[in-house]
Amino acid sequence: MAGRAGALAGWVALAGVGFLCLAPLAALLAQPGQWPQAYALGVLRFTLWQAALSALISVGLAIPLSAALVHRRFAGKQLLLTLLGAPFLLPVVVAVFGLLAVWGRSGWISSLLGVPIDIYGLPGLLLVHVFFNLPLATRLILQGWAMVPPEHLRLSAQLGLGWRGQWRVLGAPILRATLPGALLVVFLFCVTSFAAALILGGGPKATTVELAIYQALRLEFNLGGAARLALVQLGICLIVGALALRAARPVGFGTGLALADIALPRARWMVWGDRIALILAAAFLMLPMLAIVLNGIDGFADMPAAIWAALLRSVTVALGSGVLAVCTALAIAALLLRLSTRSARAIEAAVMLALAASPFVLGTGLFILLNPVISPARVALLLTGLINAVLILPILLRLFIPALAKITADYGQLCAMCALENSARLRHVTLPLLARPLGLGMGLAVALSMGDLGVITLFAAPDSGTLPMVMQRLMGAYRGNAAAGAGLVLVSATMLLFYVFDRLGARFGHRI
């Protein structure tokens, strides 16, 4: 991706993303409307507070979980890693029902205890956000571990470093590099939470900005007011993002040659700690999945044939969206590495904001922009793919930028010495070293787009129903059983796609 063409591609991608994020917002801001008043400001305060709390807890729990996953070797670890990633990929409604089958008033834990437990309220809200984001935070930290050359691990083992020493030379620098980004990503995700926060949060006490935006856009048709609220929220997120990325320090482990998996010595009490962390996390994340599977199997018989066409449509859109997102993220990541640290950081913080961008605002704004030119319904699936590609971009950048930076730092001089350039360098150095984050990123992008419901409904045209839409329609027509079946089909397809891309990346990738 060297040379002028690469830089140009980066700028074009950046401009495209900027346009897609800002033009819709600007179109809505042009409409008359009030700036947020007392009620909306209260909602904003609650939104930011719950997002901060959710981020702290999710990432806090991800630290021991990622350590356990690094240190323990056991059969089925790869499968567990994929399964642990599942909650992040679930459509919100499916996840809420799965969680409540376990934690609800008539859920498994309630029946086990014999009394209904009541998690609705702040505990429920945090529960659902941790359920969604613990896996993501864990993957982001593991990505940091993956950048440690095996030689370092072997050396630590040979020197007999105790847990304090290991922490000083490995654990601490890795967390320093990955935690700020992970915290930020989870925070931004929780900022746009809507249905899950309301349902598990127990009602209006857990009102988030996204609900207020939905209310303003759909019920009151107060386009200008919704845009102003979204703008205030974005402004705050921009400040948080800039602070978080400032705190991140890139790892400087240098390069290595070994490909082996090295096990670090671990104190006995820590081994037990690892095991407990793994068992608890697996139970917490897997039991709701099991509930989804059991409910879904029950509903298989009731499913209408329409879901298969919808599945095909969803998969096509998701693949298109994934390829687009990965290419755009690569182009931008490569561009950012050529820029000065300061401007690169500013741009990344800005792109990060796409996570906090309201899909409702993006969709409605695009609708207004397109309507005079072409009927938005004609390009419904295209827009869905496009918007979802933008929404996942920040996570892909978090995956690609550190990896690309490390490739340049470790192999840049070697490549220059060997006169490896352009396609040869891409083929022999960059791609093999980038394959893992590339696979993971593609998997995430595809999965996230599969579950989309926020964007597509606005543009719905005849015969353009995606699988989440069909599921929603079944639920709206009393057919909860069939909806659970459709939910299981959706989750299985999503997981399968994620698994395939994640494993492809791992198979063709070197450890870096």
Partner: protein, 332 residues
């Protein structure tokens, strides 16, 4: 990479053009916007399409665009460029906003056949079906069904409701309590607050939570139990009849002023209140037909006797105050 981008673009464009409408070019096309479950294969949509196309020499296309409020908001976004000729399923509490949009024109239909429990003479919005809001309960969990809001409060059964800021049943409950208790409605909400398990963004999540056992009762319609009896053969779901009366939700159809085929649109509206459509409404949309011509199918309980309803002007003026009152009671 450029190749891949092209491939991605081609893929996405191909799928979107494949999904574009393929209507018979020789026949005029009537486009009807409606809410999701109305158009779905288990809703009344397919039956209406078949019976109307048999007599209109046209193609009828339903576009399902979310719930009723989302459909209206989509029409307002599209403005005069909308492809829609008719909208079906606007809910009576949305009329103030529909009027404000200025998108709709007089329907010109004879409304003599209407069988609503209230008088209806609106020249723009034509009732298609209607229902009473009610708390639906499970007989295996609720031994003494409440017969009034006061008793609902006293018996302390757990309930799930919808958010009035994002859903029309949620707003309906607000109006119901306001219509029944007037200035005392705040006190009723404060009494109910501790029984409300949670509040959902829309009807479907609330009903799903109820059927999976998260609460004893859920805000739905008096007609909901009929679905369980007729489709599932399950008679454990009942709707509690309240002495204060029940608030009505009326689902309306209207003709777009921008429609290029007003005659066809008018024919469709007439068709909607004809027996051909009205007779399939109960067992496909699970609501009462607006112009009932036959007895309700077995499985439908007798509707409550006392109807509550506010004039639309009242809703326009008092909606925000009612929502604020609700927020104050539930945020405590």
């Amino acid at each position: 990479m450029n190749n891949r981008l092209t491939l991605a673009a081609a893929l996405v464009v191909a799928t979107s053009s494949a999904s574009a409408q393929t209507a018979n070019p020789e026949l005029p096309e009537l486009v009807v916007y409606t809410y999701d479950s109305f158009a779905s294969e288990w809703g009344p949509g397919p039956a209406i399409k078949a019976s109307f196309e048999a007599e209109c020499a046209c193609t009828l296309t339903f576009v399902a665009a979310g719930d009723a409020a989302e459909v209206l908001s989509r029409l307002r976004l599209e403005g005069s460029r909308s492809a829609a000729d008719v909208v079906v399923g606007l809910d009576s509490s949305l009329i103030p906003m529909a009027k404000e949009s200025g998108l709709f024109t007089a329907h010109g239909q004879d409304m003599a056949a209407l069988t609503l429990p209230i008088d209806w003479d609106d020249a723009t919005y034509l009732p298609v079906d209607w229902g009473y809001f009610a708390f639906v309960y499970d007989t295996t969990r609720v031994e003494t069904p409440p017969t009034s809001f006061v008793m609902l409060d006293a018996l302390n059964y757990s309930i799930i409701i919808q958010d009035p800021r994002s859903s029309s049943p949620g707003l309906g409950l607000l109006l119901w309590i306001k219509a029944a208790f007037g200035d005392q409605s705040g006190a009723i909400w404060e009494g109910l607050a501790d029984q409300i398990v949670t509040v959902t963004p829309g009807w479907s999540e609330a009903y799903g939570l109820f059927t999976s056992g998260e609460a004893d009762m859920v805000l739905s319609y008096t007609t909901s139990p009929a679905y369980h009896v007729i489709v599932e053969g399950d008679d454990t779901k009942r709707a509690a009849t309240f002495a204060e009366g029940h608030y009505m939700q009326i689902e309306l159809a209207a003709q777009l002023a921008s429609s290029e085929q007003p005659a066809l649109a008018a024919a469709f509206l007439a068709h909607l209140i004809s027996p051909a459509v009205q007779d399939v409404i109960p067992t496909t949309n699970w609501m009462y037909p607006a112009a009932q011509s036959a007895d309700l199918p077995d499985g439908f309980a007798a509707p409550p006797a006392r109807a509550l309803n506010f004039p639309t002007e009242w809703i326009a003026q008092n909606r925000q105050a009612a929502v604020d009152e609700w927020l104050a009671a539930l945020a405590r």
